[in-house]
């Protein structure tokens, strides 16, 4: 646990350094938040000493900046347009325990939620992939957190094992903003257990400065890898890596057919020696430093690279032979310590203004069309983020393939052969 939070800290530090100049809205948030940051700093520095001056300092800090912190966010919101309505449920708990992917919620939104809903303690624990999260609950971690963000293909198994609570929809009126395309799907046919968070694709990242060949399909991608041996990075995720060999051969990315998986194994073992790394956390850094010039990646951290002059040649492509559609979802866990706060959070995050800020921070597509009017038009026009309709038609939803032993065996074999020979 300690190691994970440390890893998380490092990642945040790195991201903080790499973050592109603040957007208009980001700047307003930042100025509102810098006051509370100053307050925190004053508190922590005052807490260490015990003499009279420090008492005076902390007193000063607790009056002036905290006032600023509670006033300025709403001012910032006003300037964005109509005031969003936050309905604070009566008898809401003063704590919320979240178990989520790293860096996956805008910190200012978390702060605003705390201020508006009076949630004093907001913990944010981190998992690095769905299986790790699942392993935690199978190990008996139920009741430890209120809210979690599994990818949709893990929902059925979580529901069947009793890890989830039903949503309290009377507390989440904002679900009305969710597009019909995300309702009644296989992962939650009755929409009782989950609300969509954001969605995205897995695709090909290319440094066009170094790779001159066109790469528009998985076939071309796999064939190019030996040429750029030692300069290729894949995300460390079995489901995503299987997409390339399966789609390149025209199979379903959820295939469980032995012959098709045999073919996928052959293709994967062929490229394994040429990979620089399997890396879910730092793949964008490797692309940025040109350690890797080709990548099988998510969009996270990649889209920002295109905004920097040094890395403007980075291109993210959704392969023409089709790729995965993934959706992360908000769920309330079984036996939540703070059920009302958990449902209130889901309602809060689906408020269109808040949703727009989430999209701008995380750079994943929102499932709420109502939020789009508040999103930076430049982001809306990005085909890598808000995918064109004809491309959407080629996306295939990720299913739960964890029960297919052959896939597990191939994955283990592939992982042990990375960079070997």
């Amino acid at each position: 646990m300690v190691d994970q939070s440390m890893e998380q800290m490092v990642r945040q530090m790195r991201r903080g350094l790499e973050r592109t100049p603040l957007s208009r809205r980001g700047f307003m948030w930042a100025s509102a938040m810098s006051a509370s940051a100053a307050f925190l700093a004053a508190c922590s520095s005052g807490g260490g000493a015990s003499s009279a001056p420090s008492a005076a300092a902390s007193e000063a800090a607790s009056t002036a900046p905290s006032e600023a912190a509670s006033v300025e966010p709403s001012q910032a919101l006003e300037s964005l347009g109509p005031e969003p309505s936050f309905v604070v449920p009566p008898n809401i708990e003063s704590e919320l325990f979240m178990y989520n992917w790293g860096d996956y919620v805008d910190p200012n939104n978390m702060k605003l939620f705390q201020d508006v809903y009076g949630v004093k303690k907001f913990t944010y624990d981190v998992f690095s992939n769905n299986d790790e999260m699942m392993a935690k609950f199978q190990g008996g971690a139920t009741g430890q957190w209120d809210i979690c963000c599994p990818t949709m293909n893990y929902l059925p198994a979580m529901r069947d094992q009793g890890f989830l609570s039903k949503l309290d929809k009377s507390l989440i009126p904002n679900l009305k903003y969710v597009d019909a395309a995300f309702k009644g799907k296989y992962w939650d046919p009755t929409d009782e257990y989950s609300a969509p968070k954001d969605w995205g694709t897995t695709g090909i990242t290319v440094r066009t400065k170094d790779v001159k060949e066109p790469v528009t399909t998985w076939r071309e991608f796999l064939d190019l890898i030996p040429k750029y041996s030692g300069k290729v990075v894949f995300v460390d995720s079995a489901d995503d890596v299987f997409i390339a060999p399966l789609k390149a051969n025209g199979y379903s990315l959820n295939s469980d057919v032995k012959e098709e998986l045999d073919k996928a194994r052959e293709e994967l073992l062929k490229v394994a020696p040429h990979l620089l790394a399997l890396d879910s956390d730092q793949y964008n850094t490797k692309i940025e430093t040109e350690e890797a010039v080709l990548g099988l990646t998510w969009t996270g951290g990649i889209l920002e690279l295109r905004d920097k002059p040094k890395t403007a040649d980075v291109v993210y492509t959704i392969p023409a032979d089709g790729t995965v559609f993934w959706l992360d979802t908000w769920v309330v866990l079984a036996d939540p310590p703070h059920p009302i706060a958990a449902n209130a959070w889901i309602n809060f995050i689906h408020e269109p203004h808040i949703q727009a800020i989430e999209t701008e921070t995380n750079r994943y597509a929102t499932p709420d069309s109502a939020a789009k009017q508040f999103i930076d038009p430049k982001l809306l026009a990005d085909p890598a983020l808000f995918v064109a309709d004809d491309v959407v038609a080629k996306l295939e939803p990720q299913k739960d393939n964890s029960g297919i032993q052959q896939r597990q065996d191939i994955w283990a074999e592939f992982k042990s052969k990375i960079g070997q020979g």
Partner: protein, 302 residues
Amino acid sequence: MTASTEVAPVRRARPRRSVRSGLLTGLLVLPASAWYLILLVAPLVIVVIMSFGTKSRFGGYDPGFTLANYGDALDPDRVSPFVTSISLAIGGTVLCLLAALPIAYFIATRGGSRKSMLVVLLIVPFWTSFLIRTYAWLTILGPDGVGGFVGGVVGDPSFRILGTPGAVLLGVVYGYLPLMVFPIYVTMERMDRTLIEASKDLGAGRWATFRQVTLPITATGLITGSILVFIPLMGEYVIPAILGYGRVFLIGNQLVLQFLESRNWPQGAARAVVLIAIMLVSVVFYLWFANRGRRVREVSVL
């Protein structure tokens, strides 16, 4: 008669005292043995039981009895992580030993008044998280650091240090060195200096003194240090994942994959049992080998 009555109470007192001391001993040993039972023996038993089970529908563990997990663990096509782990553990231990010996020797014999300061300096890195220190190597060895510099000097733009076994070995030696230095330092520190003088008086040179006096006396420190480094190294997985880019795939990484990714706990448990067996055998062999050498020397001294 009187003599026997005098003796009798003494006889009776003896068992009473031994009962009391037995109780006391039991009480004192209780925390340690409870710790040992709950945190070592019980989990070990669970792992062994689990290794014979099967994966449940959703991953995790279903009770059962099958040897398939061991078959998979010992499959010749899949033992390469064991081999990589053993060779890295041996290489890392030897390098740690070679690096630690001069450091410990220097601090113990030439430290003087700065001795405690030097020891503190060895501990200072522990104040920072191990993970952050390992991440720091990413910057140091990366394309903007030593890796890029060496590449520039050699004239090979694709040269890199990160993601090679060398980087992993470096990270390992860096991380585990203090574990080796301290035991060696302690034995050298406690060593009776007059023995060295005696050796010199008897005409032995510096090297001969080191080889025939210092080294045998510090052998306990060397053995302790080696075991302290070797055992955690066999289970290492963070350093290869970060500095090795996952290109150095150890048994620790395999265990993470099976427990956290495939969620095939029985298969992972079987590998864990095999790993424990390998460590037991190698440590027992090592101790036997090390002690055998010493016994021979004692005999020759006699």
